[in-house]
Each structure stands twice: as structure tokens, then as C-alpha cells.
């Protein structure tokens, strides 16, 4: 591999790699604003300028590919002076908004200003201000904070495939806006907030909810569709506040869709059943009860009947296997089927729903359920009296009119009013496990929060179901 020298450190690189990426690998940080590894390079902000020997002028590290024998310096007086000048220039019109800005704490402008800028401003003239038009339900715009890096424009153009964001006017008055001031239409709008290096584009959903430094982060996998995008769930006090994309070049690169980003809301839904609930002999609706009684009802309803097991394809491999074992040992010859997206029953029917990330299967582990040998559920199935439904939170419940139903998993009360018993279990952010995405990649879920309410892991529920009850 060819080699170059960055700040005295020898660095190997693949031909074509730019200096920023090579420097990152050997532990040299070059500040950037407009450069994003997932977007084209425009070399617009000039923050990344570095000194290259035998080159009379500073060169932007984002647009300069590393070359054999190149000697790069990132901390010479010339470079530092440039960084100071750029920071001062960017902050000329920047409002002192950090106390009310949701980006604060994870803001590139803040960080770079702290590390490379000067604490004083020489600017005394009036600052430029903009009026902000609404950008739709996902993104809140605040153009006063914009540094015109055009990352958002490039994201729309190159990734979301829709040129919605544009820069109008020129020079000092450049304004980033949507075409004809329309609302954003892309289903990937949340990424605008992720990539904007300032607080000009922020999530409406997260607005003023929490300061970013309070959030504890867990790296996990999205369960929104069979792609299994890598996400980071951010939580404080056992409440999830935000999901953001995590880099994985083989699955989702740097992006996630809005459906996946906001999917976690069902976890904290007030209608979610968090206590064991049963329909008594007389009561018409579900009433909460204890675990002992809930399980007792479940045992009684299913005892001696023809039982069918329905496994949501939003459950993990481990859970699928536990259910299979349970069905085999306790309800001999009871059939086990998986359900999830009514239109996508097998991985053959699965496919890309759009050219970006979304897949047709709206559950994450269809591939895994097939690997376990579970067959898809046919809605016209009538060969059982009792259906035991296991569900993770996203699988679409099939209509099971002629059967008595017991639910184990995550349900919202209105969905399951006609069920005999509900035994609450864990959603994807409360448990660990393995899911297999459409590419056949195994990925791990990690628990971000402690189980809510009285919900318990499926393994635990099945264990007590099988071994508890009347003592022989």
C-alpha cells in the first residue's frame, strides 16, 4: 500500500482516499463542516485546509486525495491561522443560541469553535436574520444558525433522490430553503437533522425534549423493516428520547428512514398493555391481574384444546427457538407459523420498497423465522381452537375470528380487546437477541432501557407457563 506522512505519522492508504479519512485512521483530527463521508465533496467551507509540503498554498483535506510520499502538516501556524479565520467568519452572523438550540452538545460548530476558534468576536454590526418557513412535520428550520455547508442540499440530491433543498440568493444573503417553500416530502427527512453540522435543521419530534448530553446511548438495530438499519437509541431515566442512524457501510451506510427513526414511540404508548390482563369468566373486557392468574387463565384456555402458535416475525431468533421448544414439549404436534407483513409472507416476496433503504417486509426478522423452519401463516387457517400469538410490537396481527386468542408480547389495548389473556413481554429496545436481515446478516439487539411495567422476557413467561401451575 502507498504511504504518506501526516503530522509525522506514517499512514497507509488506499489510492483515492482523501487526507481526512487517512488522518482519522492514524489519530489526527482535521476539523470539517461541509465534508461528510456519505456525500460528494464540495470543499466549500475551507475549514479542513492543511499544509502539504512542496505546495505553496493550503489545500483542503477533504478534496485532496492522499498521494505516495505526501507530507501533510495539520498544526502549523498557517493552518491554525486559517482555522481561526474560518471560525470567526462563520460566527459573524451566528446567533448566540446555544442555550435554546437542540444541537448544543453535539454541534460541530460548537465543538470546532471551542477547539479551533477564538473566544472573542470582533463583530459589532447587526447580525443577519431570516424568517423561517415551516418545513413539514419532521424538520424544524432555523436559518439564522446555518453556515451554508450545503450538506442538506447534497443529501436530498444524492441520497434521498429528491432535490428539495436549494440555496437561493447569494453571498451573505444565501438562504437554504425548500423549492417554492414547500414542505419536505422525503421519507428520509430525519437525516437532515443528523447531518446538519449546526442547529439549523433539527427534529421537531425531539424539540426541547432533552439536552443531548443527558442522553445515554445504546447501539442497536432498527426493527422497522427487514433491512435492519443500525441505530443508536438514546435514553434518559428509562425513557427513549431519540433514535439516530449509526454507520454501517454494508447495511444502511449513514442513514435511516423516518419510519424507523420514530418507530420507538409505540414502546411508550399509553395504550400499551404493561400488566398481565385477562378476560374473566364474566367480564367483557380485559382487566389487569397478577402474573400467576394471567398464566393460570392462559393454561386453562389452552389446556386440552387444539392449539396453533403464531410467532411474529418481529421477534428474535432466540425467542423463535424458545417458542418452538415450548410448543414441542408442551403442546405436542401444535403447528407453529410466523406472521408479520400480510403482503410479504416469504423472503422471496420481500424486496426493496424504494431504491434507498426501505424493504417491503415491515418486520425485521422474516429471514430468521424462515431459517428456524417456521412456515408463514395462512389467514384462511381454521385447524385450531386456540391461537397463542407472540408478537414483538410491529407484526400486523392476523384476524383470528373463530379462535380463542392468547397474546404474549407487545400489544396496544384496542388491538387485543377480544383476547382471552395478554401476557406483556418486551419490545426491541428492552431485550437482547439476534435478528437476520434480508441480506442474511446476523445483527444483535441490545437492551437500551429496563423492561417497562411488569413486562417479562418471553423465555421467562414460557418457563413459568410450562413449570408452574397446579402441583402434581
Amino acid at each position: 500500500m502507498p504511504k504518506c506522512i501526516i503530522d509525522g505519522r506514517e499512514a497507509e492508504f488506499k489510492p483515492g482516499e482523501n487526507i481526512i479519512e487517512v488522518a482519522k485512521r492514524v489519530g489526527v483530527e482535521i476539523p470539517v463542516f461541509c465534508y461528510h463521508p456519505g456525500l460528494t465533496v464540495v470543499a466549500q467551507c475551507r475549514m479542513c485546509a492543511v499544509e502539504i509540503e512542496k505546495n505553496p498554498k493550503l489545500q483542503t483535506a477533504c478534496s485532496t486525495p492522499a498521494a505516495e510520499g505526501m507530507v501533510v502538516h495539520t498544526t502549523t501556524p498557517k493552518v491554525v491561522q486559517n482555522q481561526k479565520a474560518i471560525m470567526e467568519f462563520l460566527l459573524i452572523n451566528h446567533p448566540l443560541d446555544c442555550p435554546i438550540c437542540d444541537k448544543s452538545g453535539e454541534c460541530d460548530l460548537q465543538d470546532n469553535s471551542y477547539k479551533f476558534g477564538s473566544p472573542y468576536s470582533r463583530y459589532t454590526e447587526e447580525r443577519r436574520t431570516y424568517l423561517d418557513l415551516d418545513m413539514g412535520p419532521v424538520i424544524k428550520k432555523n436559518m439564522n444558525r446555518c453556515i451554508h455547508c450545503t450538506r442538506c442540499i447534497r443529501f436530498g440530491d444524492e441520497i434521498a433522490g429528491i432535490h428539495e433543498m436549494v440555496a437561493v440568493k447569494r453571498g451573505n444573503w444565501t438562504e437554504i430553503t425548500t423549492l417554492n417553500s414547500k414542505e419536505l416530502t422525503t421519507e428520509y427527512a430525519g437525516n437532515y437533522a443528523d447531518i446538519c453540522p449546526t442547529g439549523s435543521l433539527t427534529l421537531k419530534d425531539f424539540r426541547f425534549k432533552k439536552r443531548s448530553w443527558f442522553l445515554k446511548k445504546t447501539a442497536t438495530v432498527c426493527e422497522g423493516c427487514s433491512r435492519g438499519c443500525n441505530i443508536e437509541v438514546q435514553e434518559d431515566g428509562n425513557t427513549i428520547y431519540r433514535c439516530i442512524a449509526r454507520e454501517n457501510l454494508e447495511v444502511n451506510k449513514y442513514w435511516i428512514c423516518d419510519e424507523g427513526r420514530f418507530n420507538y414511540h409505540y414502546v411508550h404508548d399509553s395504550a400499551r398493555v404493561l400488566e398481565p390482563a385477562t378476560k374473566g369468566a364474566t367480564a367483557a373486557s380485559l382487566t389487569s391481574t397478577t402474573w400467576e392468574q394471567g398464566l393460570e387463565v392462559a393454561r386453562n384456555v389452552s389446556a386440552g384444546k387444539k392449539v396453533v402458535f403464531l410467532v411474529g416475525s418481529d421477534l428474535t431468533l432466540e425467542e423463535g427457538q424458545q417458542i418452538l421448544d415450548f410448543a414441542k414439549s408442551k403442546y405436542t404436534s401444535a403447528p407453529v407459523y410466523h406472521f408479520g407483513t400480510p403482503t410479504v409472507k416469504t423472503t422471496q416476496e420481500d424486496g426493496e420498497a424504494d431504491p434507498i433503504l426501505k424493504m417491503k417486509s415491515k418486520t425485521s426478522n422474516l429471514n430468521g423465522m424462515e431459517k428456524l423452519g417456521i412456515k408463514p401463516f395462512d389467514p384462511s387457517f381454521t385447524g385450531a381452537e386456540v391461537a397463542i400469538v407472540f408478537r414483538g410490537g410491529r407484526a400486523k396481527l392476523p384476524e383470528l375470528k373463530s379462535m380463542k386468542r392468547i397474546g404474549v408480547g407487545v400489544f396496544n389495548l384496542p388491538q387485543v380487546e377480544s383476547y382471552e389473556a395478554i401476557l406483556p413481554s418486551l419490545s426491541f429496545v428492552e431485550k437482547s437477541g439476534t435478528i437476520i436481515n434480508f441480506q442474511g446478516k446476523e445483527q444483535k439487539l441490545k437492551p437500551a432501557i429496563r423492561p417497562l411495567g411488569q413486562s417479562k422476557a418471553i423465555a421467562e413467561i414460557l418457563m413459568v407457563w410450562a413449570n408452574g401451575g397446579k402441583k402434581a
Binding site: C98, P99, I100, F208, K209, R211, W213
Partner: protein, 147 residues
């Protein structure tokens, strides 16, 4: 071996020392300046830097606080609880602002951290209550002490 010293009878009965002690007591009682005050009729003037009960400063009836959460971040006792919200005349304001004074150690770091000069410690030092009280925003906005 114990050695017994022979002492005079005056010394044995401490007569002189008792008289000396009484003299000091009487001198202090009758002539020394008072160090205690007759609280609550008389009150002490504390220094301006005294750190007492919190208050939220307002300008023209609008609280200075923008709910930036720097004070709960810095507070070592974790006794400030703020919830942020939006209203037409102010982009971000504290919908809820509570200080649990029983946990507060009056270190004054919240005052120091505040970029808006909003949370301040007043000179009020009479804070005893008969049950645990968490002071809310409207209460804190009225407390000014002598500032």
C-alpha cells in the same frame, strides 16, 4: 510509685481559682459586647454574596430563564428539575422549574453556570418548613430577598 505532693488548704479547695473564674464570667456578662442577637426582632445583615434561597430573575415580567438546563447539569445535588416548552413570545421557556431546597447544598454553582443570569441565590435564609416542599417556578419568581 505514687508521689503525693503536699498542698496548702487554699489550694485544695480551689478558692482562688473559683474566684478568678467567677470574675471572668461576671466581666463577660456585664461588660463584654453581645455576640448574639435577639432574633427574630433583630436580624443580621449578611454579605451580598450570601447564598440563600433561589429566585428566578425576570425582566419586564418575562423570566430570564430559557431552559438551557445548564443549572441542572452542573448542580451536584441534582435538585433542579426543568421541563422546556415553547410559547409565542418566547422560543424556549421553562414550563416547569422546580428546586428541591432540602437537597440543595447552596454551593451557588447554578448561579455561576447560568448564561442568562436567571437563577440567583437570594439573601433569604429562613427556609424551615414542616414538611418537604419543592418550590416551583411561580414561587421562585417572587422570591427576591433583598436583591
Amino acid at each position: 510509685m505514687l508521689v503525693k505532693h503536699k498542698k496548702s488548704i487554699w489550694y485544695e479547695f480551689y478558692v482562688i481559682d473559683i474566684a478568678k473564674g467567677l470574675f471572668i464570667t461576671m466581666r463577660n456578662m456585664l461588660f463584654a459586647p453581645n455576640v448574639t442577637i435577639e432574633y427574630p426582632e433583630v436580624r443580621r445583615n449578611y454579605s451580598d454574596r450570601f447564598r440563600g434561597m433561589h429566585y428566578i430573575k425576570s425582566v419586564n415580567g418575562v423570566e430570564n430563564c430559557t431552559a438551557c438546563m445548564l443549572c441542572p447539569t452542573v448542580c451536584p445535588a441534582e435538585c433542579i428539575h426543568i421541563e422546556a416548552g415553547e410559547r409565542p413570545d418566547k422560543e424556549k421557556y421553562p414550563v416547569k422549574f422546580e428546586v428541591d431546597l432540602l437537597r440543595c447544598c447552596f454551593c451557588g454553582m447554578c448561579e455561576e453556570a447560568c448564561p442568562k443570569d436567571a437563577i440567583k441565590l437570594s439573601n433569604i435564609y429562613e427556609m424551615s418548613v414542616s414538611q418537604r416542599t419543592v418550590y416551583d417556578k411561580s414561587y421562585l419568581a417572587e422570591q427576591r430577598g433583598n436583591k
